[in-house]
């Protein structure tokens, strides 16, 4: 993976007591020479540092804890599959918000989008008797159109994205109820092919896990390996500086919401396939989980940047906790407790880690 975004060597020794604000902070000759040979061996330790992939270590600790707590049920391949399969839609929802978040744009309408596209795809099959492929394409198109609508409100009409997408999410919920009469879309026909979109198994793994893998790799490539991704981050870091250095910030912000609309549409279709039904409320619970995973994921791998693999690590960490607690038959509130504690601890840890790097990073 690109080494460029990783900032200072987090695993390296941290020099403290540097006088802040001095005009020449370091010797420009030594460390600035690019791509030292000496850098290569250090990369491994750097990537494995707790500050880089702390959630992986916490995940390891969780596995150990649950293995001791509920040894008969936790340490089975079924648990592994359950963690993967039951979190695929959450992962898709979380992945859908990381591009807008990179550009510091919120898309809080994804819950509504997931619900509506699920209803659209099932309605199209049940009521309008469209083919499965056509119905899926139609629902994806609806997701993209919702993204365009959000983008017009946020970028063209210049409304703050947080409140604008919260409002459009409410509109989507109203629209869903209006067209369905608040009744879930069901039908035998949904279990005759369409359900395979969400339920088809390959060696214990369902198809949605495969979609997640594909989307993750694509988003990783786009955000970490292309000019588009770099400009997206630049827009999020400092919109004015990005604009003045020639980055088309408004176009990128527009695109980010279209992308999140499309990906949330995909999540909605997959969810409908998993349920073999179009639920009129199913999308809502995914909103908070998606943002939790995206923010927790930003603390991983890329030091504060929203990124695809970090998001997946976060989904697995939160998912493992929830599945483990379920197997241990802990009270149901313990799952929310777990999610809340993990999020707060992760964000606090990142904050202190970054304050540390800001004060004393110079030198190796």
């Amino acid at each position: 993976m690109s080494d460029l975004q990783t900032g200072p060597a987090p695993g390296g020794p941290v020099v403290t007591g540097q006088a802040p604000g001095g005009p020449e902070k370091t010797d420009p000759v030594g460390p600035s020479s690019p791509a030292d040979d000496a850098e290569a061996p250090r990369r491994w330790t750097r990537h494995l540092a707790f500050s880089n992939i702390g959630a992986v270590y916490v995940l390891g600790a969780l596995v150990v804890i649950f293995s001791i707590w509920v040894p008969q049920t936790f340490l089975t391949s079924a648990t592994l599959y359950q963690v993967f399969n039951s979190n695929a839609v959450t992962a898709l929802a979380a992945l859908s918000v990381i591009i807008p978040l990179s550009a510091r744009v919120f898309d809080l309408s994804i819950g509504g989008t997931i619900t509506l596209t699920g209803v659209v795809v099932t309605q199209a099959i049940v009521k309008y008797e469209l083919g499965i492929a056509t119905a899926i394409l139609l629902a994806l198109l609806v997701g993209v159109l919702i993204g365009v609508l959000n983008a017009v409100i946020v970028v063209v009409l210049k409304i703050d994205s947080f409140i604008a997408t919260m409002a459009s999410g409410a509109l989507l919920a109203a629209f869903t109820t209006m067209v369905t009469g608040d009744l879930d879309v069901t039908g035998v026909v949904l279990s005759q092919g369409f359900n395979e979109v969400g339920q088809f198994m390959v060696g214990g793994i369902t198809l949605p896990v495969v979609y997640v893998a594909v989307v993750t790799v694509v988003l990783w490539f786009v955000l970490q390996q292309t000019a588009f991704g770099r400009r997206m981050y630049a827009t999020g870091f400092n919109k004015e500086a990005a604009r003045l250095s020639g980055v088309p910030t408004e176009r990128l912000r527009f695109a980010s919401l279209v992308i999140s609309g499309g990906l949330a549409g995909l999540a909605g279709i997959v969810l409908a396939g998993t349920l073999a039904a179009g639920s009129v409320t199913a999308g809502t619970p995914y909103l908070l989980g998606a943002f939790a995973a995206a923010f927790l994921g930003a603390t991983q791998l890329q030091h504060g940047r929203f990124n695809a693999f970090g998001t997946i690590i976060a989904v697995l960490l939160l998912g493992t906790g929830v599945v483990g607690l379920g197997l241990a038959q802990a009270p149901t509130w313990s799952q929310d407790l777990f999610t809340g504690v993990v999020l707060i601890v992760a964000l606090i840890a990142t904050r202190y880690q970054r304050a540390g790097t800001a004060n004393a990073t110079v030198g190796h």
Binding site: P23, P28, P34, F221, Q225, Y233, N238, A241, T361
Partner: protein, 519 residues
């Protein structure tokens, strides 16, 4: 109380020119002696002596970097002084600590007024002095409104005190800020410091502010009036002190001094003689950029022509319109704007790279690395197909780090770990890496150390010799003298004068932007 004659370390070096203190009535409301302040290795204040009498308006002027703002910030308690003796109304006040408030008799109105424009007058006054509480701890709105009305009545300001401040005129906001600063002040017993109170005022409202300042003087208080504008000093002040290179070099009665003398004092001896040599080189006749009728928030119709290999300077005070020019010629102005910019080779103005005036707000991405900051404007050229070539980026960045002597722990280090001067070099490298024909710069050396400043001058001069055309605005005449063979002077939104050749000197520039006719 005897009046202490104002002297300064180098006052004796130029005898005869300076009419010293004329003893007049008026006790000293503020007396500062030997104020020194060092930041890191740089001594910014080298022994400032300053007296403000009760019942006078005392102007305090100096060029950028003279130590003017630092003096005010030490007095306000924002910076601790290294050493100083200070008396307010004859009472000893320590300046060597950092405090929220130095002395109840020292009041400040800072340039940004310290207001929250979304809140009403009532709330803004309460922000600095707390709310009046009723018995149960709730805000006593009636008393609070009454208090606000009383504060505003001082200057006869009549406004709806419930409206957000943003809906009032600039002068009303200034009056409110002064009222708030004077709240609970036993007038006549201290000094009010006004830091460039007219910088943001339209010309038509300045006189109204002057009346406010005069009424404060009449109440017996001293006013320390910080300004860039010499014309205001003659309209308003009784005495004026000039600070240069961390020392108050002269104090005059305003009646005994001319604007030319003050301009000369601000610049000092060396200013007129130091001229860069490399710049008067080969400017072709070929026009590369033409701007016609540029308008904006402050520009009111600016025309200019830029020739190949020329560094064209734009001079003007803050608010004159000069600061908008680099943004306008690069098509980056937001808000109200008009006029036409033509690049003669047919490319778009937005393709011209810009070094923005405010490095932190508009220049750098503090959360990103040196490499990412440098390459953001030329990602296309370091891509192979859709993919960024990390290797190519490293080569380019390492090249610029070497060329500009950027002191950085590495290309991957966060740019926030670099000093301001080195951050500025990265921004400049970002622009030059696009191999532009034209470059626009705003305040290229603001907050930059001396060594970097020299390096930036050198680099731009050499690029211009190779055919780069540059438009540069700077509030620091030194930049323009070092870089430009031709300078357009902007006042009130229009180009009023063109300086070329030997006329591009600090004295002439300062006189021109102030509107003092050449002697």
């Amino acid at each position: 109380m005897p009046v202490t004659p104002t002297t300064s370390p180098d006052a004796d070096t130029r005898p005869g020119e300076r009419p010293r203190e004329r003893a007049t009535d008026g006790a000293l409301a503020l007396s500062v002696r030997g104020l020194t302040k060092t930041f890191g290795a740089a001594q910014v204040l080298r022994g400032v002596d300053l007296d403000v009498r009760a019942g006078e308006v005392h102007a305090f002027i100096g060029a950028n970097g003279s130590g003017k703002s630092t003096t005010i910030k030490v007095l306000a308690g924002y910076h601790p002084a290294d050493e100083a003796r200070c008396e307010v109304n004859g009472e000893e006040v320590g300046l060597t600590t950092r405090v929220a408030k130095r002395h109840d008799s020292l009041r400040f109105v800072h340039q940004d007024l310290g207001q929250v424009p979304e809140l009403s007058a009532v709330d803004n006054i309460a922000l600095s002095h707390g709310y009046v509480r009723s018995r149960f701890g709730a805000i006593d709105w009636k008393a609070q409104r009454e208090l606000t009305r009383r504060a505003l009545a001082r200057f006869g300001t009549r406004i709806d005190i419930e409206l957000p401040l943003a809906s009032h005129s600039a002068v009303v906001r200034t009056e409110l800020a002064i009222s708030a600063a004077m709240h609970g002040w036993d007038a006549g017993q201290g000094v009010l410091v006004l830091d460039e109170p007219t910088a943001m005022l339209p010309p038509t409202q300045v006189e109204r502010l002057f009346d406010v300042v005069r009424s404060i003087r009449a109440s017996g208080a001293g006013v320390l009036y910080v300004s860039h504008r010499l014309d205001e000093i003659f309209a308003l002040a009784d005495r004026v002190s000039v600070i240069r290179a961390g020392v108050v070099v002269a104090t005059y009665d305003v009646g005994d001094v001319t604007a030319e003398q003050l301009a000369d004092e601000m610049v000092g001896e060396q200013g007129s003689s130091v001229r860069q040599n490399a710049k008067s080189g080969s400017v072709a006749d070929e026009v590369v950029l033409r701007a016609e009728g540029l308008t904006g928030r402050t520009m009111r119709g600016i025309d200019l022509e830029l020739r190949r290999g020329e560094v064209l300077g734009i001079a003007g005070l803050v608010g004159s319109g000069s600061e908008e020019v680099p943004y306008a010629v690069t098509g980056r102005l937001t808000g109200p704007r008009g006029g036409r910019v033509t690049v003669t080779d047919g490319s778009r103005p937005t393709d011209i790279p810009l070094v923005p005036g405010n490095r932190i707000a508009e220049g750098v991405f503090l959360e990103a690395s040196v490499a990412e900051n440098l390459s953001i404007s030329s990602l296309g050229s370091i891509s192979r197909g859709p993919r960024l070539s990390v290797r190519r980026e490293r080569t380019v960045v390492a090249d610029w780090i070497r060329r500009l002597g950027i002191a950085a722990p590495g290309a991957d280090a966060p740019i926030s770990t670099l000093s301001g001067g080195n951050q500025q070099k990265v921004v400049l490298a970002r622009c030059l890496n696009r191999s532009p024909q034209i470059l626009a710069m705003s305040e290229p050396t603001a907050g930059v150390d001396i060594a970097t400043r020299a390096r930036i001058y050198d680099l731009v001069t050499r690029e211009a010799a190779d055919g780069l055309s540059v438009v540069v605005t700077s509030s620091d005449p030194q930049d323009l003298v070092a870089l430009c063979a031709r300078v357009l002077v902007v006042r009130d939104g229009r180009v009023v004068e063109e300086l070329a050749g030997d006329d591009v000197a600090e004295h002439t520039i300062i006189r021109a932007i102030e509107g003092i006719s050449a002697a």
